[in-house]
Amino acid sequence: MGVSNLVFAVILAVALGFFARSAKRLKRWLNIGHEEVRTDHPDQRTKNFLLIGLGQSKILRDPVGGMMHALVFWGFCVLGLGTLEIMIQGLYTPFTWDVILPRFLYLPYVVSQEIFAVFVLIPVVYLLYRRLVIKPKRFAEVSGADAVFILSMIATLMLTLLLLFVMELRTGASPDGRIISGLLLPLFSSVSAETAHLVARGSWWIHAVLILYFLNHLPGSKHLHVLTSLINVWFSNTSGPGRIGAMRPMDLEAENAEQFGASDVEHLSWKNLLDGYSCTECGRCTAVCPANTTGKLLSPRMIVVKTRARLTEKATTLDAIAASGGTASEAQTAVLAKNLLDDWITEEELWACTSCRACVTECPVSIDQLDIINELRRDLVLMESRFPDELAPALTSLERNGSPWAFSASDRAQWAEGMDIPTMAELVEKGEKADILFWVGCMGSFDDRAKKITVAFARILQAANVRFAILGQEETCHGDPARRMGNEYLYQMLAKGVIETLDGYNVKTIVTFCPHCFHQMGSEFPDIGGNYEVIHHTDYIERLLEAGRVPLDTEHGQRLKVAYHDSCYLGRYNEIYDAPRNTLKRALPIMELVEPPRTKSRGMCCGAGGGRMWMEENVGKRVNVERSEELLATGADQIAVACPFCMTMITDGVTGAGSSVPVLDISEVVASRLLPIVSV
């Protein structure tokens, strides 16, 4: 062991020691958040880890930037082996993998190191170019200095590695298989063997020390994601396990519970805080946020960045107080008295959210921005009764009338007059049974436009001879709007009432055309004891059509261009993209289905979700206007929707744009193709 080995051993020990200290501290800080079990369904988690983590499936949603990142990532995985070799060489100079590996493995290893060094270098140069010259909009919000520093460091690492390989080849101390070095060698033909040896040693040292520096740069940098994002993907629930998009269950009767929702980092779970560690501020979430892109203050990225910043601020202060024997200075007390809510994240940001899940779906490392937003909203409403004035009538009406609009329950089934549709109560009285319950929903019961959807869907069910019933006056809101607004108390009160009614009739299967009802009853009711098969009408109609149960006109009709607008609660919340499209194709065999630029899992929200339906939209461009313009720009003759909320928003937008393109629900399109009922 030479002097250089000793020097390296000291550097390595110091670097690893520092790193261990930082890692331990970061892990300890996670405990500021509350507990949460995230080890269930290890199979699904491992699948996410392989696909989203190692497979980079989500970052590849951006084909160019995504591929560049994937190359860097996969390159790092392969180069990791080389790094290990270099670290061991530092302690014992003659070491190579050749010592351990058989020849048929060692050769590919040697080849891979060079190739992947180039695979990393090329994208890094591109990414630097993008940062410094192209400057995409989504980078504007946060400082890019750290990114540029890191990219430069990676570039230096790759250059020193390649230089090392070439110089080793020049001195002849090189294994077989250095193809790229061989190509580069002529450039260095004038370099003497002695100089080559010195440059090789220099490159080795720069490379090795830089790696150790890099390791210690990460914990305090946004590039911490290098270490945490794979872990984060494993623990995340955003792509399952569990029901996607279901809000976090909340026990309102918990003994001694004094905090509901979150106003500071300790009210969030350790996983929310790990999300903070894993965010590298790429801004893909903010770039797809309908609120942000139409000029609102909300930026999902900043929600995560601020959560991490507040955690760092609070945790370092707590550490400092502990280090000084437990007495806090005035400044430290002031820091502790601050909150994530208000001091970092404002009400305005939180209420701008449409809960569309675009940010969550987009995040390459499975961060759940929406979960943080929902928890903060819960604190605002449950703890402080603080919410926009416009929401008060909706909440009051939910409490008083069981509907967010102040209509009489006795008018719920007015649309059904003369249609011979039984209620569950009537069937029970007659000793009959229904196969399915048609859950109409508040929009479908009270909104004049949505009532036409209700009638259209009921006509399809009748034409297909489905034995169905409605609840009529007994139907009430399940509380989803209240839940999305943060009022978990009102939600649970309403939801439990609905479950009682449904169970009273022993309901098993529910069909509804409102994606919010569909999601709430299908995906969130199980958490509070309601278990039903809930089917969205697009899915149900498709099944009926497939089974040939709906008598449709065989005339092809007109050749129409139809654009379908994805509903968030149908699409991103429940991954139903094909059923509405297939239904349209079956109903209108010769139509041309056109897609707006933002479609399917990238579909843009209509602007009504997350309680936004009941709020004014005074800042920036209206979300529904932006979306409607995009839909109209497809040149469609008709716009199809599958949600009564989208119906309202898109109809408004289309009308506002001075267009007369009709906006129709999927069921209306199908109903318009029904053969007239022949009375015998």
Binding site: E258, V381, L382, S385, T396, R400, A406, Y489
Partner: protein, 251 residues
């Protein structure tokens, strides 16, 4: 300073009311109940006074009604009131004076500096209980207050008149009835709801005495006949003119 707010349990109005077969009262089947809207504003006014003036020691809520009215008192407690009193009566009499007597007896005992009522109960529409209580207690009374200030032992209230505002001054103790426009009531937070479960709520029988006014009969207004569509072109005009002359007799 002690404030009392008198509240009433009333049916939620967004329903189709029915009258019982004997025509004496509203059929209660399927009705939902809440605090009378104007009383909510009175509670809010009291809570704001408490938040603004350091000397408000207690906001008590008093309601006369059936056992179930405890629910409405709990809501007021959840909003932030300190203590509740239910003057239990199986049914609320139609005689405002009987109600006022029972309330006045309770209020007199409590020694309140300020007694707030909603301007009107949205079910019975009498707007007499507040003034009657003031009369029975020989206290100054200001009705339809939409703006309120208390300093020391003097109050200043603004009332809305048709096209004008009237500013009144009065000494405490006093009785006020609160109009809308003073403020929007707060919605109870979950924290408030939890805390309300532990706040004191006394239940005692209401000292109603004799009711001198009773409901003789209730009836719903006759249903409006549905409109008729004669057609959607100019061809329908002659028929329309004919009907306006012969049936509606307006031409």
């Amino acid at each position: 300073m002690k404030i009392a707010v008198c509240i009433k349990r009333v049916p939620v109005m967004e329903v189709k009311f029915a009258i019982t077969a004997d025509g004496s009262r509203v059929d209660e089947a399927g009705l939902k109940y809440d605090v009378n809207d104007f009383d909510l504003w009175a509670i809010e006014a009291a809570l704001q006074l408490k938040e603004k003036n350091g000397n408000v020691g207690e906001v008590a809520v008093i309601s006369l009604g059936p056992d179930a009215a405890q629910e409405q008192i709990r809501k007021a407690l959840a909003m932030g009131a300190d203590r509740g009193v239910l003057l239990k009566a199986d049914s609320i009499p139609a005689d405002g004076l009987a109600i006022a007597r029972a309330l006045a007896a309770e209020i007199k005992e409590g020694g309140y500096d300020l007694v707030l009522f909603g301007r009107i109960a949205i079910d019975s529409m009498n707007q007499m209980t507040g003034p009657m209580v003031a009369e029975l207690l020989d206290l100054p009374c200001v009705t339809n207050v939409f703006k309120l200030d208390i300093s020391g032992s003097t109050g200043r209230a603004e009332r809305a008149l048709e096209g004008a505002t009237e500013v009144m001054e009065f000494p405490l103790p006093a009785v006020l009835t609160i109009d809308d426009g003073l403020n929007k009531e707060r919605l109870p937070s979950l924290k408030g709801i939890m805390a309300a479960k532990k706040k004191p709520l006394d239940v005692k029988p209401a000292q109603l005495g004799d009711a001198k006014v009773t409901v003789h009969k209730m009836a719903l207004p006759p249903e409006r006949a549905a409109g008729r569509i004669l057609g959607d072109s100019s061809a329908a005009v002659p028929e329309l003119v004919r009907l306006l002359q012969t049936e509606a007799k307006v031409l």
